[in-house]
Structure formats: structure tokens, C-alpha cells
């Protein structure tokens, strides 16, 4: 089972290394780690996805908490979060494939961000399962390159 952690960290040099180093040292595998500024300029927010079947999630969060620069950790589950990932996908789009690529893009509300004679680059922002579906539909056309941001997640409003 995948676990998603939303980790608020102080915006200090080396903080990413500390988090990544901790995961390496304790033998926890990171699926994805995304970091960026938060609403407070002194703090950054990381979204970390890990495989919780392999590691007791409890140990992961407790060890993370011990890092002085880690301010807050929230574990998000599927019901309590909105999660998105952005991907840029370059597919072959020669001849008939071009129309097909455009149709798939439209269904998934993906944007065409670049085209040349042979390929087309699509941008999509979606939840992980939708992203996976999109990618697999594009597969038969020939996927040349995939660039993904990793998952960002936010807790749902509480009303």
C-alpha cells in the first residue's frame, strides 16, 4: 500500500539532503518526493510517497520527526486528500496517429504543448490512476519520452 506524507519543513539549506539521507540510511524506499515553497516563505512543503507494505509507516514518520528542520507531518489517505501529478508525454504522431493522439488528449483534458512533424507532446495533470490510464492508452501510438513531476497532495477542506 502506498502512503502519502505531507511534510512541512523549514526552508533551510540542506533540508532536502537530510530527508533523503534519512530515507537512505533507514532503508526506506521513496516512490516520489516533491518539494516546493509553501504559503509561508519560511517553510517548504514536501509530498513524499512511499511503499508502506515494505516499511512500518510509523517508524518513517517518527524518524522524520526527529529531524530538527521538520516542522509537521501529516499522513494523507485517499479519502482525505486531493492528489495530482503533472506529466509531459511525447508520443509518435505521424499520419493517422496524430488524430488518435488528439482524441485521447481531449478525453483526458490534456493539452498539446509542442508538435513537430513526427511527434506531439501532451501535458496532463491528473490523479495517479487517471494518469496511468492516459499513459496506457497512448502506449500503442509509441511513447517516446515521459517526464513526471511526482505526486503533490493536499488535505481536503474540513466542512
Amino acid at each position: 500500500m502506498k502512503h502519502t506524507l505531507s511534510v512541512l519543513v523549514e526552508n533551510k539549506p540542506g533540508v532536502l539532503t537530510r530527508v533523503a539521507g534519512l530515507f537512505a540510511r533507514r532503508g526506506f524506499n521513496i516512490d516520489s518526493l516533491v518539494v516546493g515553497r509553501s504559503e509561508d516563505p519560511r517553510l517548504s512543503r514536501m509530498t513524499i510517497t512511499i511503499d508502506g507494505a515494505e516499511h512500518p509507516i510509523d517508524q518513517v514518520t517518527k524518524q522524520l520527526h526527529k529531524l530538527i528542520n521538520v516542522v509537521k507531518i501529516r499522513e494523507l489517505d485517499a479519502e482525505s486528500m486531493v492528489a495530482r501529478e503533472l506529466a509531459l508525454i511525447r508520443v509518435s504522431a505521424e499520419g493517422a496517429k496524430r488524430t488518435e493522439a488528439l482524441q485521447i488528449a481531449e478525453i483526458f483534458k490534456a493539452k498539446v504543448v509542442d508538435v513537430d512533424r513526427r511527434t506531439m507532446t501532451l501535458e496532463i495533470t491528473a490523479a495517479p490512476d487517471r494518469l496511468a490510464a492516459f499513459e496506457s492508452l497512448l502506449q500503442p501510438l509509441g511513447v517516446n519520452e515521459v517526464v513526471r513531476t511526482g505526486l503533490v497532495a493536499i488535505g481536503r477542506g474540513r466542512s
Partner: protein, 572 residues
Amino acid sequence: MTPQTKIKGSEAIVRALQEEGCDVIFGYPGGVVIPFYDALYHSDLKHVLVRHEQGAAHAAEGYARATGRVGVCVATSGPGATNLVTGIADAYLDSIPIVAITGQVKSDLIGTDAFQEADTTGITLPIVKHSYLVQNASDLAQIIHEAFHIAGTGRPGPVLIDIPVTCALAEFVYKTASAVDLPGYKPTMRGHSKQIKVAARAIHESPRPVLYVGGGVISSGATQEVFDLATSLNIPVTTTLMAMGAFPGTHPLSLGMLGMHGTAYANWAVHECDLLIAVGARFDDRVTGKLSTFAPQATVLHIDIDPAEIGKNVEPRIPIVGDAKMVLHEILTEVATMAAAPERTAEWLERVDDWRGQHPLHYEEDDGELPPQYVVEQIYAVTGGDAIITTDVGQNQMWAAQYFKYTQPRQFISSGGLGTMGFGLPAAIGAQIGRPDKQVIDIGGDGSFQMTMQELGTAVAYNVPIVVALLNNRFLGMVRQWQELFWEGHYSHTDIAVQPDFAKIADAYGALGVTVTAKDEVADALRTAIKDPRPAVIDFRVRREENVYPMVPAGTSITEMIGGQAGRRKKP
């Protein structure tokens, strides 16, 4: 000095250290820390020049372990910093509060493989509680203040401050640090009140309880509370290596140490108890042996300030996160409201005493050679038990734990988690400087001693009157013991009979050197060494192939002890 007077970063470091109450630092100079050493030259902060930076780190640890205050060590960039690494790792694994200050190359040279550049914060990342690479000289005072706070509070540990020489040379108006504001660092001190009630009830009701006490009790200063809990409810107490002295070894409720080389009765008591009260301990593999058979009948109550320790190795039924002293105090208050029933454990104590009677610690005395255990017993006798003992690592360390009865916290100073050979001498120097009122004796091994023996120079230079009692078996004894017991006696590269005359080495340094080969010379040699104002080395030529018993082979259940029965086990 007017408020607007500028000072150099190097002076700011000295001043900030003094504002933290630091009275001594252990260090070694080099290129990028010359500005700092120049500031020392003009200050009254005491500096002890060691002979190797590893010695500085261990001395800072020895000071911290003996006094409870934060120890400080200093080294230059590159090799100076890497030489500190072993000591920093040692402090990390034993949760010892030290601040390590390292010089770094000029800010604009960082990352260029400049002369004596090493990525010190990177190298030490996994072995520090926290670290800083200073970017603005004007942050120095605040960073030093934070470093002392982080090192000494919560679960203590080492903090590293890497200071580019640019910062040491910069001039600015010094501002005393303001209160620490670390949003991500707020150790939980008070235990959960409901859990405390649950714990108190469990303790009060248990017919077969055991207190399993670790180093956290010493760092939190909770020995009185442990004593009160044990004696008011008649609970036997076993301590880890890190907690020797946390409960008086002379007390009838003391079971001594548990684990791999623990007493048979401590291990049996843990195996048979119905309630295991773990305080400031972390269920290390040297303590638990095979985890699945550890304390099989017990409800586990685990008190620790570090939430990550709870459930890491053993899942407790009653977890309490908090400071050992505060939590125990509250448990005691709770227990005091319950009807006293000190006889509840009477039957249990009888059983424990039976084990103690049947399987005491013992060794063979009468084959004419000098038993190392006898030397430790004599150190105890000659000092009346009133000494601070440091140790090296190996057999010497285990005998020092087994055959000296520690009654005070901070009286036994040993490298537990990392098991660092060469720890004993520099730690003794730091301990002696921190506690000039006590006699400090390093019970060392001949292998370990040769790793840091150059620190005799430090001891002589600063008139530090320590005594080094070498249990010299001319073997890397503990490894040899494993080879004897588990590797068919293949003594592969453990015979170190080719070695210098340690008494002469001591003499060459200007210390007192004595060689002892017979039992009847032991006490006199110790008295002479203690009385002599110089540092002293006594080379005790002990029985070469003596083993530490009992012994739980690694990975087996702690009741599967070799040599736990009376009578020394003969060699196979």
C-alpha cells in the same frame, strides 16, 4: 566596548561558547582554524590540545558523560574534521551531548576540491542530531546557542557546526543570541496522564516485575526516581551497559547488567518476569538476543523521550513518551495513592535470589596466572568503589562492567553503541578534566590502547592524573574469544603479542609506568599509581586466554548462556 564595536567571527565563536557556560574545549589547530586559535590566544577559555582529533571528540564525550554538560571539540577542515568522525558517531549512538566545531575552506571555494576541503556536513549527516554549515558570520552566536540547546535537551546527541574561514574572518557587531525558536524541535517531556495511570496500576499489581534501565535514565537524571520506585515496590533492577551506576550495584535489588554478557540471574529474571519496565532503554540486540524469545511472558512498559524508539524493536503494551525523570515522578505519585503491598513481589525476589545464588559471576582464581577479573575487583577494593571508570572495548569493557560495583550515575563511562576501541584513554582525560574531584581510572585493553595511546602526551602536558589499568592479554581478546568459541579456535590475526613495553612508553612520555605480573602486586601498584601526581599506566599482564562469561551467542535467546553455570567453563 561600545555596542557598535565590531569583532571578528572567530572572537564571536569564543564569546558565544563562553555565554553557553563552556569552560573547556578539546581541539587541534590547522589552516582554516588559525583565526579561531588566535581568538583563543586572547581569551581565557581553556583549550586542551590533544594529539589526534579523535582524541578531542572522545575527550569531549568523556567530559560530557562525566559531568552531564555539553562537551566541545574543535578541528580544522578536511583531515581534522574526518578524524573527528569516529567520536561524533560514538556520541550519536550513545546519545551524548557534544558540539563539534570544524573549520571549512573559504565560502567561495566550497565545492571546488580546494586544499583540505571535505564535505564535513555531508560526511557526518547520518551521525549527528543536527548540523550547520554557517553562511553568515553574524548568525554564529545564534547557531552556537541552538547547537548547545539541541545537543543537551530531549534525547541528547552530537551537533556539528562547520564554519568557513570567511565567517571566522568577517567583522560585525556581536549580538548575544536570543531565545531558541525551533518550530520543529519540541521534545515531549511530560508523559500522557492516562498512560501514567495505566502504568502505575500495572506496576502496582505485578507479582513478577523487572526494571530494565538504560542510558536515558542517566541523561535525564532519573536515578533517584528509579531508586524510589524499585525500593518502595521491591522491584529488581537490571541495567544496560550504558546505565551502570543508575541503580546501586551494591543494593540487594540490583541484578547487574543484562544481555550478551549480563548476569545469568538478570537474564533469567527478564525471561520469567510478567512486567518489564523499560526506562530510557532501546532494546538493543546486545541486550535482547533473539527478539522473538525476549521476555516472552512480559507485558512491556516502555518509557522513552524518543518516540521513534517506542515500537522500533519491541512493541510495548504500555508506551509512554516523555522524560524519564518526569514520567517516573508522576508514576511514583500515582503509586503512592495505592495501598502499599511491598510483600507482593516477595516470592519473586526469592526466586531471583535463588538464581543469583546458583549462578553468580565467577572466574578461576588458582592457576597462578593473573586473572583480569581480579584486577578489576582490586580496582574496586583499592578505590573503595569511589572512582570514575572509563573503558576501552572488548573483554576489558565487559569485565569492568561485571566486577566493579557502580553506585553513582556517570561513574561508568564506556562506548556502548559504537563499541569504539581506543575510547578509554581520551574519555578518561575529558572525564578527569570535568571532574577534578574524582579519581578517574581507564580500564583498557592492549589492542584498544594502541589506537589512541598518543593521548598520554595530552595527559602529561595538562597534568591530568588519570590511571590507565591495561588488562594486557596480548590478544585482541574479544575477537579471539569468538574465534575460540565459534570459529574452531582459528586465531586469525588476533595475536598481538608483538607490542611495545607499555610501562616504558609511559615513562617516555613522562608518566608513571608499572608492569604487574602477579596477583600480590596488584593492589600496591594501584595505590602507587593513584598516589603519584603524574598520569600512570599499569600494564597488568593477565591470563591470555581468559573468556568473558556468561555469554549469549549473538542471535540466540538470552537464556542460552555459555558459562552461566558455576565453575569456569573449560576450553573445548
